[in-house]
């Protein structure tokens, strides 16, 4: 009953600090590259959806201006999540179940190098009893790393929070439309995401039950590779355990905040279409200490 959805194209860009361009100027070439690779224009796209955060850009309604990069004329079917672009992709997979909507453009952008990322992410915490203390993102990750150490896990040091600017665009298509657009569609076999409680003291920071559940629902078994969204290196260990990885190729990256999760889809799709992997997980995370996790299973033609 469900329509098969595939990644048919992607493009991404990451730099430690974009010196000049605004979000429109950064996004435009990325979107054009992703559409151009499969010979599509915006007019061929059935649904457009993006992920970004106003707080990273430093002003409200940042996604509104970014729409200028799309060419939304005639008017387009479009939405936006104030989340990592991977969650926008989840929306797109669901919208593509609708008859008559056969293609989707998913994009994300962020320019956190212009602000104070470690302090900005503080605003994700409980606004009454946690955020007023301004705990920085790196320190929260440090609490998680120490909890792992206390369990006897050998963990790497917590480096400074990865700050990067960037944009990513992914083009999705269903069934025969995907096959017509590319010889190597990368099928999304399953996708799910789960959230955990906000209070760090309530959670066991050494495990990731949300990843486990999402992986189970997404059908993450028989994998030969995993593309993990890992803001801090020790979190790879937590995720490997939650996903039951053992011997598979693991590619972990942080990416630009709000972009990094969707970029993992691009990375996994690139590997699968190039034959470097057959069946891989693409993972995205959101919130402090892996609070929310999304898992998708991607596969090439059988």
């Amino acid at each position: 009953m469900r329509r098969d959805v595939a990644i048919v194209s992607w493009a991404s860009f990451e730099t430690p600090s974009e010196p000049a361009r605004n979000e429109v100027e950064m996004l435009l070439p990325v979107i054009q590259e992703a559409l151009g690779k499969v010979g599509l224009s915006q007019r061929d796209i059935g649904f457009t959806v993006s992920g970004s955060s106003d707080y990273l850009q430093g002003f409200p309604f940042a996604f509104v201006g970014a729409l200028d990069a799309v060419g939304a004329w005639p008017p387009i079917r479009e939405s936006h999540v104030e989340m990592d672009g991977a969650f926008a992709l989840y929306e797109a997979v669901n919208v593509l179940q609708e008859e008559g909507i056969d293609t989707a453009l998913v994009y994300a952008f962020a320019r956190p190098s212009r602000g104070e990322l470690d302090r900005t992410l503080t605003l994700q915490l409980d606004p009454y009893v946690v955020a007023p203390l301004w705990p920085d993102a790196r320190s929260l990750a440090g609490l998680q790393a120490q909890a792992l150490k206390d369990k006897g896990v050998d963990v790497p040091d917590v480096p400074p929070t990865h700050v990067a600017d960037g944009a990513v665009a992914v083009v999705l298509a269903v069934g025969d439309r995907a096959r017509a657009l590319t010889g190597n569609p990368v099928w999304i076999r399953g996708i799910d995401h789960r959230i955990e409680p906000p209070a760090l003291g309530v959670r066991d920071l050494t495990v990731s039950p949300s990843t486990e559940t999402a992986a189970k629902v997404a059908g993450a078994s028989g994998l030969d590779a995993a593309y993990l969204h890992v803001p801090y290196p020790h979190q790879e260990l937590v995720l490997r355990h939650a996903l039951g990885l053992n011997g598979q190729t693991v590619d972990a990256a942080a990416g630009p905040t709000m972009v990094g999760g969707l970029e993992r889809f691009a990375a996994a799709a690139a590997a699968i279409s190039a034959g470097r992997a057959k069946r891989a997980v693409a993972h995205a995370t959101s919130g402090p200490c892996l609070q929310q996790n999304l898992v998708a299973v991607l596969e090439g033609a059988s």
């Binding site: 009953m1 457009t48 955060s53 106003d54 707080y55 430093g58 002003f59 409200p60 309604f61 996604f63 509104v64 201006g65 729409l67 200028d68 799309v70 939304a72 004329w73 005639p74 008017p75 387009i76 079917r77 479009e78 939405s79 936006h80 999540v81 104030e82 989340m83 969650f87 989840y90 929306e91 997979v93 669901n94 919208v95 179940q97 609708e98 008859e99 900005t120 992410l121 605003l123 994700q124 915490l125 409980d126 606004p127 955020a131 799910d192 995401h193 789960r194 959230i195 955990e196 409680p197 906000p198 209070a199 039950p209 949300s210 559940t213 959101s286 919130g287 402090p288 609070q291 929310q292």
Partner: protein
């Protein structure tokens, strides 16, 4: 739509300028709990939670879904946050309906909110970036010129905006949740109220409210077993266009017309004025009612104001618009669109209480946002499609 979807529960908070009796979580809870009660469900019956609100800077909480996970029963479940400016209440409903129509979930809780009293919307809407002159204050400063252009284009008389302002406030007297209760309102009091952003008078603008609105969406099997009558979703649509596009029409936006066309086609509506029994539409400034009458195809271009003038849009008119009192009476920004969608559902369920319009079989919920560039709509019906 691939799988049928119904609204089986609706919950709203009392809207007020300041809801200082509750935390942010407490505010959302109030609406969510009422929606669950209406649906005959508990937290554990819900498969996924979707929230929507306008910019995070209104409350100073970044990605508030992270903080709200336990308050909304989302722990261990999927949770999403939609943000599409003022239309977000509508687009959140549309995105959530896709989670059910796609077959991914059976029961989805959707909650939209704004707790404007945590800050000041005019501050957040007027954050000035370096290098800009910045002479526009808030939404009124932006939309007043558009309204003036409409008045010129349609040759509409000045009293039309006043009539809408009175009508919606009188409707709000029938709505227990409405923020503004102005029993003594009259065309006289509206006309005499201060001219803020000429041609917009004080009483022709919306208030600033705290509040939340929730709906429970369900698949067909679930909807057939819920205690109260479901509202079946007959169609949903979204359309967006750029803010600064050469050749776009801000008075009668192309995106709004396309969005309406799309949702009517899905719902089998050929003549909206004939086929719909009432509509809840996003009217933050009174003049937007006649403007949207044209954009939505209820009236010919240039004739929307005549529907106001002849009483067609009043509570007992042939096309009642905003029987709940609308955004002009309650405006929790990020929830205001969801309120329209939820009120449309209440009307077809026959559950709108004192503001129930007789015999509503099909109703439209509408929201817009940004520079009148983002549109979200759904049509709900009392009969299963």
């Amino acid at each position: 739509m691939s799988n049928r979807v119904a609204v089986v529960g609706v919950g709203q908070t009392k809207y007020a300028a300041k809801r200082q009796d509750v935390s942010m979580a407490g505010l959302l809870r109030e609406a969510a709990k009422r929606a669950l009660d209406d649906a005959g469900m508990g937290w554990s019956d819900i498969d996924a939670v979707v929230i929507g609100k306008a910019p995070d800077m209104f409350e100073g909480v970044m990605m508030p879904e992270l903080y709200l996970a336990d308050a909304l029963g989302a722990v261990g479940k999927p949770m999403l946050r939609v943000h599409t400016a003022g239309s977000v209440g509508g687009s959140t409903g549309v995105m959530a309906s896709h989670l059910v129509s796609s077959g991914a979930h059976k029961r989805v809780l959707v909650v939209c909110f704004e707790k404007q009293s945590e800050s000041n919307a005019t501050w957040a809407l007027s954050i000035r970036l370096p290098f800009t002159g910045g002479s526009v204050t808030g939404a009124g400063g932006y939309f007043a010129p558009v309204i003036r252009a409409y008045m010129r284009r349609a040759n509409a008389p000045d009293h039309i905006g006043i009539k809408v302002a009175v009508k919606d406030r009188l409707n709000a007297l029938r709505n227990q949740y409405a923020h503004l209760k102005l029993p003594d309102i009259s065309e006289e009091t509206v006309r005499e109220s201060p001219m803020l952003w000429d041609p917009i008078r004080y009483l022709e603008t919306c208030p600033s409210s705290d509040g939340a609105c929730a709906v429970v969406l369900a698949d067909e099997d679930t909807a057939q077993g819920t205690p109260n009558r479901p509202a079946w979703i007959l169609g949903t649509a979204l359309r967006s266009e750029p803010t600064m596009g050469a050749g776009r029409d801000t008075v009668n936006p192309h995106a709004g017309r396309d969005c309406a066309k799309d949702v009517y086609a899905q719902a089998g509506i050929t003549d909206p004025r004939q086929d719909l029994d009432c509509a809840e539409i996003y009217v933050p400034f009174s003049w937007y009612e006649p403007m949207w009458m044209e954009n939505l195809g209820f009236a010919e271009e240039g004739a929307g104001w005549k529907m106001v003038d002849d009483g067609s849009t009043s509570f007992d008119g042939d096309m009642p618009i905003n029987p709940s009192g609308g955004v002009l009476s309650s405006n929790p920004i990020g929830a205001s669109g969801m309120c329209r969608f939820a009120e449309a559902a209440l009307q077809v369920r026959g559950m709108a209480g004192e503001h129930q319009v007789d015999g509503v079989r099909r109703a439209l919920g509408h929201a817009y946002g940004g520079g009148a560039q983002f549109f979200a709509m759904w049509v709900v019906g009392s009969e299963k499609p």
